[in-house]
Amino acid sequence: MKFRTILTIIGVVIGTSSIIVMVSIGNGAQKSITDELSGIGSVTTLQVYQDLSSMGMTSMGGGKTDDKAILNDDAIKDLKKIDGVVAVTPVVNLSGGEIEVDREQYGVSLMGVDYAVLEDMRYVTTSGKKPGANDENSVILGKDVLTSFTYTGASTQLTESEVKPEDLIGQNITMTIKRTNANGEEEMKTQKLKVTGVLESTGGNEDYSIIADYNLVTELNEWQTGKKANVKKQGYSQALVTVEDSAVVNAVTTEVEAMQFTVFSMQQILDSMGSVFQMLQILLGGIGGVALLVACIGIVNTMTMSIYERTKEIGIMKVIGASISDIRNMFIAESTMIGLIGGLVGIVISLVLSLLINFIAGFFIGGEGGVTISFITPGLVIFALVFSALVGLLSGVRPAIKAANLSSLDAIRSE
């Protein structure tokens, strides 16, 4: 094979492998993040908040404060009426609790939800079971509850607990909360909690919380702040809306927003991430595309040079009976081969590069089971192969037609 042809093939190799690697990095980033985000429950759960911005707007505008949407029990009832909604629960949070497990102290926060609808929410327990509607003192532990801050004496540090949340199922744990009273003295209150199960990861706040009944949490909150909560006027800070399936998420979101609440869903994140990654892939693929375009020019150049060099040969072939299409096909086959070989080598190189990128990334980032920065799908491989062959073919067309139309006699006379 001619040195020039090898150089041209290398051009195609660089072009194809840069497209593959670039797109694979986009793929990999998307894959690892969507894998991370798309817990089954979380996709069909909407987080609803009181619309903070509209509250500010109306108070600034003066008057008309009663116009703002309040996330109270009436609102919860209205939310429940929306088509496609399965369950709605207010969320009441309590932070600053401490539990002691195996002589270690863990800081915990409670997330209070309505146990009456717990059955309808898409919370899945990996082990144990969900508390019933009347098990007011029963709780479910988030998967990472014990991975949070561990208090060992005065110093705090993030350590992996030796106790698994699963080990606590069926046990009673004692939670302590503190408050400072009017005289500046610290008071303590203890609360017994019965662990019935452990929640499968949702990718949200639940992972780091203890799920409890919202009546219990409200009670503890009132003790801690010393004030009675006025839900009717102030509303809950948050509610969770569980919908039938992911298909109705957008419709429900629109309706809830029409009620002047702020909605936040995993679907929105996935949607916007999807478009971000698409942009990323187009951008990265474009860089590879430029490399391939350069390779394309290289093929045209090589083929044209090859025709000049082989003019006499073309003339001889025509004289001994090669037809116009014989000559044309010969050159197109040659340039397609350049594209195809370049594509094949490019694929092999990008597979190696992909492994290498993931290996090096894993080395720096760490994490169990390796890291996926670059992810090459079979579709990407097939696309690259077809595309590089096509680039070769198309680059060859013009030179090939030129070769086929040479006058046989002029060609045979040339040196």
Binding site: K312, E313, G315, I316, M317, K318, V319, I320, G321, A322, S323, I324, S325, D326, S408, L409, I412
Partner: protein, 219 residues
């Protein structure tokens, strides 16, 4: 038949009215001074360049009115060419050069090889079939190009100074071979030459002068 060439804006008349009949199995020598139009005539005859006016008929085929693709198909089946400068493809072996003519005719690979070897046998070069043209002498290269012209079993072989680059001993060998083929296969040969020695093998000797046939002698 007439042939003009465009030279700049001017048309120069190279072949100025040639009228000639050649019978099947004849061996025709075309003589004449350099520039008299011998090669041009041969190329027009082989359909490599179209005539400006006039007709060329080979059997029932009107060469002068064929499209390029028709000509190419016609050449494949009915014509063989031999050139002064051999015109072999330097990157191919003798055998591949000979077989190439069959490739375009769509002959299967094994049969191509078989027939290429047969043709090389005829010219006595089977033992050199794996050699590239650069590894062969001039006479041997010309014999490869003759084998290539023969391999399709064409009725007509057009040769433009086939011995022009060869010494007199080798020239005689080549002419003997052409003569033998003409006798044995009844192939028609039109041979351009300026070596009067070669004319002794021919059935007809034509002298050209300035684009015209000056004399036509059958012998």
């Amino acid at each position: 038949m007439h042939k003009d060439f465009k030279l700049g804006k001017e048309d120069i008349n190279i072949l100025k009215g040639i009228n000639l009949d050649i019978e099947q199995g004849e061996m025709v020598a075309l003589l004449g001074p350099s520039g008299s139009g011998k090669s041009t005539f041969l190329n027009v005859l082989g359909g490599l360049v179209p005539p400006t006016s006039g007709n060329i008929m080979i059997r029932d085929y009107r060469i002068s009115e064929m499209t390029e693709n028709e000509l190419c198909l016609f050449r494949r089946e009915h014509l063989g060419f031999i050139f002064q400068s051999y015109n072999l493809i330097s990157t191919m072996t003798a055998m591949e050069n000979v077989a190439l003519a069959l490739t375009f005719a769509g002959v299967k690979k094994e049969i191509r090889k078989e027939r290429a070897i047969e043709a090389l046998e005829v010219v006595g070069l089977v033992d050199r079939m794996g050699h590239k043209p650069s590894e062969l002498s001039g006479g041997q290269q010309q014999r490869v190009s003759i084998a290539r012209a023969l391999v399709n079993h064409p009725e007509i072989i057009l040769a433009d100074e086939p011995t022009g680059n060869l010494d007199s001993k080798t020239s005689a060998d080549i002419m003997e071979m052409i003569y033998r083929l003409n006798r044995e296969e009844n192939q028609t040969f039109v041979i351009v030459t300026h070596d009067p020695d070669t004319t002794k093998y021919c059935t007809k000797v034509i002298h050209m002068q300035d684009g015209l046939i000056e004399s036509e002698v059958s012998q």
